[in-house]
Point group: C2
Chain length 568, copies 2
């Protein structure tokens, strides 16, 4: 029923397997993490021949349901040394569904001097074609060249020059509905994994349109409409429709958890200059190509994305998300939206994660390489990443290595992955989540902040984090957008009913959550097998020793508590 | 009986404790590793407040015995993340003995912007004095300034500009009998540990001369003479007297384990241009300050050190050791002794380990930053390390991080410490030793090469490595030079008799080896507690997958075998 296409990146040979399990039905992270667990030796070199790269669509891919086309990309991460699932929006999962593919696997790796290849997957054949014309080019130019060659409607995943140089913070850029590779599976260095296989892009052609064979089309339509209502009625999701994720700036500033000055502080003077309203007003005022509301995938009603224009109205960057505004903004004491947008654009063009690079620049500023607040220096550092100068290579390798190389003790990461935009001393729930995820610090994994009565206390946060670990992981588990989680938080049946109407397969809420928990167990086991221990699930020492000035809080979470939060 | 002086590097407060245990009597690594185990939290930040730096003299320090003044320096290593003992020759252990000190401990750490201080230890007081006049200066100039201020006979340990910048491959330079800080405890980043405490030098003044209170002076004299005979009669030690450790170049070239071209090969065309004879002839021919034979500590009869002169006869570098000739020579395909000597000089002046930097430059050459064999580029890279440019910072952070940042898979290290000068695929005994030591790849730890009937097979190598782990560790365990080990390999009594004559304490061979094995157990336990697992005691994947061309060998040692080799 569900097809898995395996491509050997050395020989170009392909094999197709089918898998009728419920895990394959769910797809997404349920499938990608199982395949990594099963097929990748935990102790292998993430950039070596034994690692594999898995692209998995979700249960409802190809249907008309909203927000269902997230693509889960899995591998062993060169950034964290552990398992990785990073997911992106865009149209690639939809194109995979049109080719009746649940999963694409890139296997093996040639010599590092082999010419770059593009994996091209079409209705009739899959082949490795010459990709050397893309070498060294930025992701924007690569997008143009790919659409020129394969059409605007092809689903693409490509890498930037940073990944070509194997930088550890490099991501995979997936094409959006306009054919621009701007939807990033940014975290964990998956771009470097694809580069290690000498694959510079993967293209799923728009030459097939396998239609979903609905078990009950009417029920599905009814269910899809119900989901839209649920999404539109939910106050959180609907706020994202107007402001995008930027709405978080004010919330975090008020709670004093807005990362500021290399995560030393939790609030920034002038935060209102880079908040949601400021961005909204700027976009509206400049007009032109600017959009405050924008869908990353066809059919999504949340439309949290945006298009930030230059003064002349032409596009500067799309999208700009809260995490970037904090890590490349407040964390560097920048109050200039245009500078943040420019950094974001360079990151997208270089093909690196904005969080990991923003955090690395914060450390570089603490090391004295530039003053906090110096926007020009920050933009220049991003350019160095794109050019892969020695400093650029340092910064593009993520915050943990940057701190080691530059001799800075306060290094905001867990498992080598930069902390997202919630200063953990001020939100012990998010801190617990950062310390509990097998993926390295990740906010989507268990987003407690909205539900913490007193964010500064650790009391009850093991249970709270675990509750939201399940809620957050549910969406990844079936390829839904994380922002749909609020709408089905207390009742997953609207989504499970869609699965029933699509496949005539009944999955109960309980059974579904069993899949979610089993995924977590497998992921943690992979990390343990890879040599990751309790000593790694920690913040750096200064978070425990030095109080955050605005809240007076330190991290007081024990190894025992985090072990409990990781135990399923 | 044995004094331990503890100095708080924030307040300058000192405490003196006494310890009458046999562990304190033995001193050296027996004491340093016990103190690290006991006093340093295994999971602490090596450059944070909880790490401590221990300087331990050995059992016979202060006596007239040959080769007995090695100084064991212990801490948690910022390079490996595990326990570290790195030992150096020179006169510091002797001066400690004259002050009746078995151990000096530097504790705590001030803010990173505190002015640099010098710890000055004299007969009447210990104090922190201003050290800002040393800031940023090379080790040679620091040596001059320290002797100017504290006299040529003071025992000093200082750091180079690399350690001031917290580079992870930075060492501690200890003064030789001429007052030059050229005797390095180079490995494991201990220079960065001292720098993290904002201590730029430690000086033990020559204002006291506590004489050893011999239990039986005549017996001691007799025993000391016997030791000299044993050292002089031993063929290995005596070969080092003429040629220094450079004698290994030909041996390793013949066995095809001479690291060449970033550890991809085991032999180099033109190796004879940098072998012992070539160096001997060059030194003799140039004359002047050149010396083929030179003692690093008073009273040593081995005198393996040398002084390599420039063409005009003035000193270029002292000493040049085999490990450096290989890592900065053959590993980079350099056949120019003057270039190697210049690189060595810059390393000594910058205060970085020659092995770790040589290996890092090898990786940089593989990454395409320079051609193998380009001596000028190699010297320039060393200058970048001294100047702490971004590239210099990368290289000075050791080979593991360099490979990660530059995207090179073949990364010759274990636990982040560069492989010493024996290509492990061609010597499975040394490979086993590299994978067994708690210190990161280290050749002195269990030197099997001379005793491997067939170096390319792993058969019997667990037992052989373990045998030599004990033999090698015996010398560290009591502060003797490692080169004395050959002379007492089969009978430790000549050294144990000296201990008896000195202290009237009987330690049997069996009891002594129990201390050695218990030290290993404690060290491995520290590493386990620090989060180091079996996954870390491995070479990088390519050593297992790609055969070394000259021997056709791969690493075939299993995790189970290395676990056995680490089990005591």
């Amino acid at each position: 029923m569900f097809s898995i296409l395996k491509i050997n990146t050395v020989t170009g040979e392909t094999t197709k397997e089918t898998d009728n399990s419920k895990e394959a039905l769910l797809g997404g992270r349920t499938l990608s993490s199982r395949m990594v667990s099963k097929e990748v030796p935990a102790q292998c070199d993430p950039l070596g021949r034994q690692n594999k790269l898995f692209f998995c669509s979700g249960a409802l891919a190809g249907t008309t349901a909203s927000s269902c086309h997230r693509l889960s990309i899995g591998a062993k991460s060169p950034l964290t040394g552990g398992i990785k699932e990073s997911n992106a929006g865009g149209i690639l999962a939809l194109r995979m569904a049109h080719q009746n593919l649940r999963c694409i696997v890139l296997e093996d790796a040639p010599e590092p001097d082999r010419d770059w290849k593009i994996v091209v997957i079409g209705k009739d054949k899959t082949e490795l074609v010459d990709g050397s014309f893309l070498e060294g080019k930025g992701v924007y130019e690569k997008s143009d060249l790919l659409t020129e060659k394969f059409g605007k409607r092809a689903g693409c995943a490509t890498i930037g020059p940073a990944a070509e140089k194997r930088l550890l913070a490099s991501g995979l850029a997936c094409s959006d509905p306009h054919g621009v590779c701007s939807r990033y599976a940014g975290r964990g260095g998956l771009g470097a994994v694809m580069a290690s296989k000498r694959i510079i892009a993967m293209v799923v052609l728009d030459d097939a349109k396998v239609k979903p064979d609905y078990a009950d089309k009417d029920e599905f339509k009814k269910g899809a409409r119900k989901l839209i209502t649920l999404l539109q009625e939910n106050p959180v999701a609907s706020k994202f429709t107007k402001y995008g994720t930027a709405a978080m700036v004010d919330i975090c500033q008020a709670l004093k958890v807005l990362p500021t000055r290399n995560f030393k502080h939790g609030a920034m003077d002038g935060a209102e200059k880079i908040n949601a309203q400021a961005m909204y007003d700027t976009i509206k005022e400049r007009g032109g190509e600017g959009r405050t509301q924008h869908a990353c995938m066809p059919g999504c009603v949340i439309q949290c994305s945006n298009v930030y224009p230059k003064k002349d109205g032409t596009i500067l960057c799309s999208p700009i998300e809260y995490e970037t505004m904090a890590l490349m903004g407040s964390n560097l004491c920048l109050t200039d939206l245009d500078a943040i947008a420019m950094m974001n654009r360079i990151a997208n063009d270089a093909g690196v994660d904005t969080l990991d690079c923003g955090a690395a620049i914060g450390v570089a500023m603490e090391a004295g390489l530039a003053e906090f607040g110096d926007a020009k220096a920050a933009v220049r550092m991003m350019e160095e990443i794109r050019e892969a100068t020695p400093l650029g290579r340092i910064l593009g390798s993520g915050v943990k290595l940057t701190a080691k190389i530059l001799g800075v003790s306060h290094s905001p990461h867990v498992l080598g992955q930069a902390l997202p935009a919630y200063e953990p001393r001020g939100t012990k729930g998010m801190a617990m989540t950062y310390l509990s995820t097998p993926m390295g610090a990740d906010h989507t994994f268990g987003f407690t902040l909205r539900d913490e009565e007193d964010p500064t206390t650790k009391e009850g946060k093991v249970a709270l984090s675990k509750k939201f670990q399940v809620i957050g992981s549910r969406m990844d588990a079936m390829g839904m957008c994380n922002f749909a989680r609020y709408s089905v938080k207390d009742d997953m049946n609207p989504l499970l009913d869609l699965i029933k109407a699509r496949f005539d397969v009944v999955i109960t809420e309980e059974e579904f959550d069993d899949f979610v928990r089993e995924t977590l167990r497998l992921e943690h086991q992979f990390n343990t097998d890879a040599g990751i221990t309790a000593a790694d699930y920690r913040f750096c020492e200064s978070f425990y020793q030095e109080a955050q000035p605005e809240t007076g809080e330190k991290i007081d979470i024990t190894d025992q508590e985090t072990a409990e939060a990781r135990s399923w």
